[in-house]
Amino acid sequence: MSLLQVERLTRRFGGLIALDDVSFSVPSGSLSAVIGPNGAGKTTLFNLISGFIPPSEGCVRFDGHDFAGLKPHQVAARGLVRTFQLVRPFPAMSIAENVRVGTHLRTKGGVLAALLGQPAQERRVADRALQLLDRVGLASVADQAPSSLGYGQLRLLEIARALATQPKLLLLDEPAAGLNHVETDRLGLLLRALHADGLTILLIEHDMRLVMDLAEYVVVLDFGRKIAEGPADAVARDPAVLDAYLGGADA
């Protein structure tokens, strides 16, 4: 059964068509990828799916519901959570507290509850954050500031933060960008483990090795259009894809 359905999605910026009539679907429990040269419209696609910008045409259906008009936090509340191509840590908070923010949707309480105190919930939140940091390998630096982390570790922090929301679908925008080989391999292991746990993942990726290694299904964009989709190895042999990559700036 498909968890996410993108139907004839189009987005124009003035005269530029950043995304042109793109449709595809993401089956529940799958690990899929969106690839394409620079400027192909990948991030725009994620921005549309996650409610950060409205589509010019087309629609997004998730878990049987139409997403039209939903704000980003409402999209997240329905179980679709994204990360950003440029990492966005909360710099004034410790690494652990960054992850604790991710439990927002799974906890309750406003100003009044804060003043009265919620020790049981706070203990649960702190435990959960530590578990997730442990999972991505950052538990030892939990109390430090995000500024003490390298780029690759900041990406892991973002993933831990997103996992704390307990999403149904995780959208990752170039999670391996800026990572060295060792870090990329570790990321691959983490994503595979999450996938094995039943999480549905859709990632944008430039690192073809990682995509071929991980993704079961691949959608290829070029100049805003979908030029191919299918199982990873079939897409890798597709002449249109080879052409886009060899002809594109990213070759």
Binding site: S50, F52, K71, P72, H73, A76, A77, V81, R82, T83, F84, R88, P89, F90, P91, A92, M93, E97, R100, V101, G102, T103, H104, L105, T107, K108, G109, G110, V111, A113, A114, L115, G117, Q118, Q121, E122, V125, E158, R161, A162, A164, T165
Partner: protein, 308 residues
């Protein structure tokens, strides 16, 4: 026991500061009035810290909410005979309501635009206080405001008043600290760090900002009410732009985004004029030089330097 020189310096500074306050309070020294004033400003600056330090927003119009509290309390108690606590509560409710309405409109703005929007709020409240003479008394203000009282107990002597104000200051700092370390506080901090990332994690950014603005307005209103009762008299000048300038100075000198910053900043800036009074003619100059020195030597504020 502190393990190094900086640790000892902190301990000594803290002990000295607390003993000075205790000495003044116990002996009923003339400085008690200035100390009480500083305590009121702690409440006001704690709210500024909530909105600006923790939620990362900016407001030049918090004096408007202090004015609502001050005038509300003055009018209801002096002219209509309400008990002070009830008047304070009613005024704070009104301030919250105004903040809710104004917040919906202005908090869409960011950075400089938000600053200008809130500045306008402060200026408008000043004009209303001046122009609406039948209610506010215009430039003359309102006098004959009774002292704070609850049940049979009224804070009448200087020492009693100071105790109440000190309690309010501690409560303000404690509650802001509590707010910051909660689910709501995390949402606030996330909004300050990155609105996009906060939203992506399910935080309702607009709502979080408005609630923080309303909460800050309630503190400012309470500070205004305390001011009215402590002095017994209010005029538009009390809640003018001056209040915002003083509040900002205290916040930055004390340390924006820190727990103790409002406390330290309000007492240092509140007491500084008393300490340098001996300089007479060059008093303002000394005041300015001290401020600049603090901001250069401790750019994160005194409480920030303390923590480091």
């Amino acid at each position: 026991m502190p393990s190094n020189i900086i640790g000892w310096a902190r301990l000594i500074a803290g002990v000295l500061g607390l003993s000075a306050v205790a000495y003044i309070a116990v002996t009923g020294n003339y400085l008690l009035t200035a100390l009480g004033f500083a305590a009121i400003y702690v409440v006001f600056v704690a709210a500024l810290n909530l909105f600006m330090g923790h939620a990362g927003q900016v407001s030049f119009g918090q004096n408007a909410f202090a004015a609502i509290g001050g005038y509300g309390s003055a009018i209801l108690t002096a002219n209509h005979g309400w008990p002070p606590m009830l008047a304070m509560l009613a005024s704070a409710l009104l301030a919250a309501l105004v903040a809710l309405v104004v917040g919906q409109a202005t908090l869409r703005l960011r950075g400089h635009y938000l600053a200008m929007g809130t500045l306008a709020l402060g200026l408008i409240s000043y004009e209303i206080a001046v122009q609406w003479e039948q209610v506010t008394g215009g430039y003359m203000g309102i006098s004959g405001i009774p002292p704070l009282s609850i049940g049979g107990f009224a804070a009448e002597t200087d020492r009693q008043v100071f105790l109440v104000l000190a309690l309010a200051a501690v409560l303000a700092c404690w509650s802001v600290w509590r707010l910051r370390r909660s689910r709501f506080g995390r949402a606030m901090g996330a909004v300050a760090g990155s609105e996009e990332a906060a939203a992506a994690l399910g935080v309702d950014v607009a709502r979080t900002k408005v609630i923080t603005f309303v909460a800050a307005a309630v503190y400012a209103s309470v500070a205004g009410s305390l001011m009215a009762h402590a002095v017994g008299y209010i005029s538009p000048e009390v809640f003018g732009l001056h209040m915002v300038v003083v509040g900002f100075t205290m916040l930055y000198v004390g340390g924006i985004g820190t727990t103790l910053g409002p406390l330290v900043g309000a007492f240092v800036i509140g007491m500084l004029p008393e300490v340098i009074r001996g300089f007479r003619d060059v008093q303002d100059l000394v005041y300015g030089v001290v401020l600049i020195l603090i901001l250069i030597r401790a750019p994160g504020g005194l409480a920030g330097a303390w923590r480091r």
